[in-house]
Amino acid sequence: MGFMSIVQQIIGGFGTTVFIFFFTLLFSMPLGILFALARMSRFKPLNLLMQVCISILRGTPLMLQLIVVFFMPYYVFGIKLTTSWRVYAALIGFSVNYAAYFGEIFRAGIQAVPVGQHEAAEVLGFTKAQTFWKIVFPQMVKRVVPPVTNEVITLVKDTSMAFAIAYAEMFTMAKQVAAAQSNIMPLFVAGVFYYVFNIVVAWIMGKVEKSLDYFQ
């Protein structure tokens, strides 16, 4: 069993990992903004509901959330599950969970914008929406890049939890190769893949941070 074929097997699983990673980011970021706005809403019921949601999403294991999303259609509604539902369930589970974390990070970013700017915008005749999108949002983005990078890197590694609902990603493939060969090597190869992927992510986020650093 050559080293190359180990790498080859793991590259196959790497595609799945990147797929979960990419679509989770795509869905959870906008959802996170929605969560943050709902969390800061002055409309009490929405605010409270969001607080409860975030508390549950952060307070229970992601693995459990994935299992709940995947099996709920059957156990609650009696819908027979199909294999393709695994992908949706994984994406829903990951996106909603990460949206909760992103939501709180975005909230911190939004609230860090001084009240004076809201007042100035009002004086200048900006509407609430204009104030948010033209003044608050850009500053929020600048501020949240470092904590968002943290979450993004965590997400790369968290993708390995998708196997809780039998969605085989890179780490699962590595474990399967390891079992087939009775060898520990594939796990380290997978580790190298994660590390390299995260270096790339950190580098890209560093670039983003720098490009947003337009006042210094």
């Binding site: 196959g12 795509l26 695994r86 085989a168 990603e169 699962t172 060969q181 009775s182």
Partner: protein, 332 residues
Amino acid sequence: MKKMIAMLLTGMLCAGLLAGCGSSSSAPAAGAAADQKEETTEAVEETTEAAGDAVEAAAQAATGEAAEAAAPAATGEQAAAAPAEGAAGQTFTVGFDAEYPPYGYLDEATGDYTGFDLELAQEVCNRRGWILVKQPIDWNTKDMEINSGAVDCLWNGMTYTGREEEYTWSDPYVSNSIVVAVMADSDIQTKADLAGKNVVAQSGSSALTALQNDPGDGSNDENLALAATFNSLEEIADYNSAFMNMSAGIYHAIAVDIGVARHQLSTNEGKYRILDEEISKEEYAIAFKLGNTELRDQVQETLNEMAADGTVNAIAEKYAEDQLPEMLIIGK
């Protein structure tokens, strides 16, 4: 106006909470809800639509990607199975633990899942014109997988003995023993030597059941008494980790199905040893969802044909290294 938006957001959130439940039904529901409101509807509809589109696109990408990824070196079956689902030819989804050689594992040469049980399943599907979907699952969630219909059967060295009432079973086809594997140079020679040692078994496995299960009628007292002499009986996610742990000195012995133990012995020559004394004897069968006798009967019929014309034996011969031919009980 602001209140309206807030209320709408609350509604969407609730819908979003439910969206986790119903796969496709929730999207039109959210859309319908939006229809009733006026002013802000357009925006909402747009978002729902956009979300729907995105998910659809994701799904399409996923089927392609998943087929590619789950089966690296172009797994014919899986790649073909994904799009063909629901089209002509019924799919037959086998749930298995891909870390359970020789019954189900990843073949490094082809990148496809293979193993004695999966080859049997493939042959059954070939004969019945079904499309085989090999679905590696987390063995701990096997009951949820089969009850929810996510997999059609569990076919992976699945122990029949002691679980008769929990599933609808095929006839037993392999006779298995639970044995004790130790390091080749270990001083453990008999079961009595296990006293005070650290023993491990896979969680959810029949080996663990054999050492822990108390049916209450005294039938398993001997094994329970044996387990009581251990220093510890631990659970581990998969047997490959168990063997790695034992090599590292963490465990002294592993309670394991004989086929799996022999596979470890044959891939690591001279490293491990199996004790002559067995813990228990049991039989493997294919598990279907309780009450699903229709599918069971179809599979059983084809399996019997395969046993009669020697195909089962021929497949077992490929795993002669793991002594599978001697363990067969179907057609004998």
